[in-house]
Amino acid sequence: MIVPEDYAKKYLAQYGILTPRGTIAESRAEALAAARQLDFNVVVKAVIPTGGRGKAGGVRVCRTQPEVELFLETLWGKEILGYTVHKVLVEEVVDIETELYAAAHVDTVSGYTNILFSEEGGVDVESAADEIKIISVDPGADLPVHRVRMHTHTWGLSGVNPDALSFFLSMLHRISADIDATLLEVNPLAVLYDGSLAALDCKCEVDENALARHKDFKEMQRETLSERELKASEFGVSYVPLEGVIGVITSGAGLGMASMDMLTERGLPPANFLDTGGGISEDMLCRALKLILEPSEVKGCLINLYGGINRMKEAANGIAKALEETGDKRTIVAKILGNQQEEAWDILSAIPNVHVIKVFQTEQAVDKLEELLRQQ
């Protein structure tokens, strides 16, 4: 999950890192008022959860009121890199000496948290990969300032004070550990005329598996969900709205991907997708199927479950219960294997609009669904 820039910066500030004064504005009037407070000498930034925003025209330095008004007009409601702009960050202009790059990144292959630093910051940092310095930190270990200084004093830095930088990098590592960030990137990291460092932008990605430890992020994530996604999260499953005609329920996202690829190849694109994960219960499957069948675009449904830990009898009971309660007559093909498969087949065979597939190959389930839908 990507944490918005303004929120990530609040964290930086809490740990003693300098950030520009700024205000989030959710309307043009608010943005204008915020700019007035800063004497119309501001940076206006589109708040969208992605990088590369400056190059795409989402950031501009404005020195006068008409400039701010004009930029807001061109920016508001516009689509940038796939996101519609309906929020901006209005910040004071900071006069800077140079732009640097710094990041804390969890490398899941090596297992280390890498602290990356480059004296070449700004929009094109990716092309300066050779210049990047790396400090690797053991999983779970601290990175105290004195240890960073052992590195920074050997880097031959020209534009930045190694001690100020060491403090900054140490804090960056600590914040990333504290908030379970998999990436915490400050670009540009500005050197001000007095030599101090300020984080002008911050890109922060946190580990979604760790959200339960961070109530504020969890809340933030909920705000970005649609009504159905929210419903799904309430009973512990993930729901993905799509644009096709088939509802898909699988026990595992890998199985889901494979099933959806097959459906799409047959000209039966998925309308939505629900991954049960572990912990299937009667209640979960009942709510899941109801949710999947909610959109009227759904013409039929493919249920593809494999029960190792999950008990398939409970799943079957849930499916039966949902159909009984809603009286839904749409075609459902259920491929169910594993733990308690025979019991599940018996329960589902008794329902007229459910067709049970008892073999391993998902292709046969897709064949059956295609055949049944063609007959209608």
Binding site: G111, Y112, G140, A177, Q341
Partner: protein, 160 residues
Amino acid sequence: MKNVLIDKETRAVVQGITGKVGRAQTHWMVKAGKLLVAGVTPGKGGQEVEGLPVYDTVGEAVEHRGVNTSVIFVPPLGVLGAVNEALDAGIRLIVIVTEYVPVRDTIIIRHRAGLIGARGNRSQLPRPLCTRAWETGNHAGVTISSRKYRCNRPQRHTFL
């Protein structure tokens, strides 16, 4: 790579044995073999699950039942603590069944296990969701994805 990690000497403890999933899987594991000798759930010491004694700590299970292997069924945020407890108690073969363990916890587990020399399947380190460690060698069918559920699927399968 040698993929048989359990043998006649294996004495396993189920961490999280009184939870919903732990309890259900213990039922099948006890049916399938004689490897399980104890369970652990903090605060539930003295209870019994499927005839196995439950202890408050892994240390007690080691002391009273001589366990040398652990299979973990605790919720995601509890896995790091459970692994640390097992390692501290001297256990060197750990099977983590829990999904959705935070990335940082996972790399800490991997790192610490590597330093200590604990074993898991393939990588020789414990890794999340490595139930396969249990279904090899003479003891095939020890846990969940065992012969009981084997269906007409290809030889090489992955767990989804």
